[in-house]
Amino acid sequence: MHRLSVLELSRGLAAGDFSSVEITRHFLDRIGSSNDLLNAFITVTEERALEQAAAADQRIKQGTAHALTGIPIAHKDILCVDGVRTTCASKMLESFVAPYSATVVEKLDQVGAVMLGKTNMDEFAMGSSNENSCFGPVRNPWDVSRVPGGSSGGSAAAVAARLVPISTGTDTGGSVRQPAALTGTTGIKPTYGRISRYGMIAFASSLDQAGVIGQSAADAALMLETMCGFDTKDSTSSQQPVEALHNELEGDLKGLRIGVPDVFFAEGLSDGVKAQVEAALNVFESQGATLLQVSLPHLHLSVPAYYVVAPAECSSNLSRFDGVRFGHRCDNPKDLDDLYRRSRSEGFGPEVLRRILTGTFVLSAGYYDAYYKKAQRVRRLINADFQQAFEQVDLIMGPTSPTTAFPLGEKTDDPVSMYLNDIYTVGVSLAGLPAASIPCGLSEGLPVGLHIIGDHFCERKVLSAGHQFQQVTDFHTLRPEGEGA
């Protein structure tokens, strides 16, 4: 049953082949037997899930079901769910029970999706390996000695191991796409502003965007379409009409102009990843697409620009954790300042503290112009590079991550080397573009992701290209074997 896609599960539910309660129990059992090893879930909400599943079965019987009614899903533990513990993988929120639900959660509740639980992640979504969780690292089902990527590592590992058929994730600098690449799953983050940020715990507000990690572009399209849309509760929610995605991915690749930036294939890219990505580009070419070289002359500055802008916004957003209104509070504070300082130092892990400090530094008097404003100016140049490229091409493609999944502990001592892992993803985030990662083969037994980037509001074009690729290849159906599977 866990080998079925969301679309197959949906058809099976409609045909009465199985009930939502049955598949919900099946996936809960899988979580029960694998989660000790993979650590993909922080919280499993069995009782709530079975209630939702029973309600979904009623709805299917009554003939008022949506395609996602009765489908088990998971939410990254950054999304507030009313009455459910929401931790952001931080000691700061270890016992925080959300008093309201995120808009995304409400939308998926409304169509009758069944939430199995909350997935592990890097603390406050800050990390590229899922090693920064106060609940311990997530392991990659393809090789349990390796990381699943981050920050949505729990969602990606859970889908890769089929502990859940599909999951939400969030992407600030690559946190949906990079773990999707490292676990052989399909991940998409839409254009900034497409999905409401209401109830999604904030990291960097000009970059944060929810997304989906699933088994295929077709599955992801169905869930993404449900999550998108204008929301008055998010001040930067886009009012652009949402395109239909589900059932709208057919077409062909003839005449599609694909931009291939040379900077994506420069130093730092591993040979194994390069070979698989080039082979994937050849598949697009053989299906009638045209490959064109495009230039992104400022992209090499996207990592430093991102690591100025994102921590600056983080230091501002995370100032709300003061030990007073919610979150961890230190014992026996001697005065208010001591309460603030010790609560925050005890509650936040090392990477979060590092980003708060870096962000405070780049915003401080004397350094604001040299770092923060400078990075914002570079951000405009990076955005302009992409806009110029999209005058010549429909999509841009390249690798999602420079390497396959790396061993746990390999980069934890060196923050700059960890940050450089985000080289292909953060520029896209600074520009607010929609982008997906789809599996395009294995290198030494580990998955490689192809990065598909579209112009603003062109989610359908991105997913459609991914779907066409998945019609003529079977990389997305490869599954891990061995103890993590």
């Binding site: 209104r325 208010l336 570079v378 603003h456």
Partner: protein, 95 residues
């Protein structure tokens, strides 16, 4: 540029975090490496380029000033470590 210990301590005060002495040494080293890395931004001339704060050219929406939420103080205060009579309690600020 590299940061001094005193600079990091000042930043920690601004950010309202407490750093233990041994942690400060490590943080100073790591932050210096990160800030050094930021200096590569100076490779490009950005004179005359307007800072970009946001990926989409959008203006802040306005709405009518009408009550849209109801009072859920009791529910929200359940997340707090210490409240009394609807107030959040903190150590005495004024003697």
């Amino acid at each position: 540029m590299s940061l001094t210990r005193e600079q990091v301590e000042k930043i920690a005060t601004l950010a309202r975090v407490e750093l233990a002495a041994d942690v400060t040494t490590e943080v100073t080293e790591n932050m210096s490496r990160i800030i050094d890395f930021f200096d590569t931004l100076n490779d490009v001339d950005t004179d005359g380029v307007a800072p970009m704060a946001h990926p989409l050219d959008m203006t802040q929406r306005l709405r009518a000033d009408e009550v849209s939420e109801h009072n859920e103080r009791d529910k929200f205060q359940q997340s707090s470590a210490q409240t009394e009579g609807g107030l959040y309690l903190v150590p005495k600020v004024i003697e």
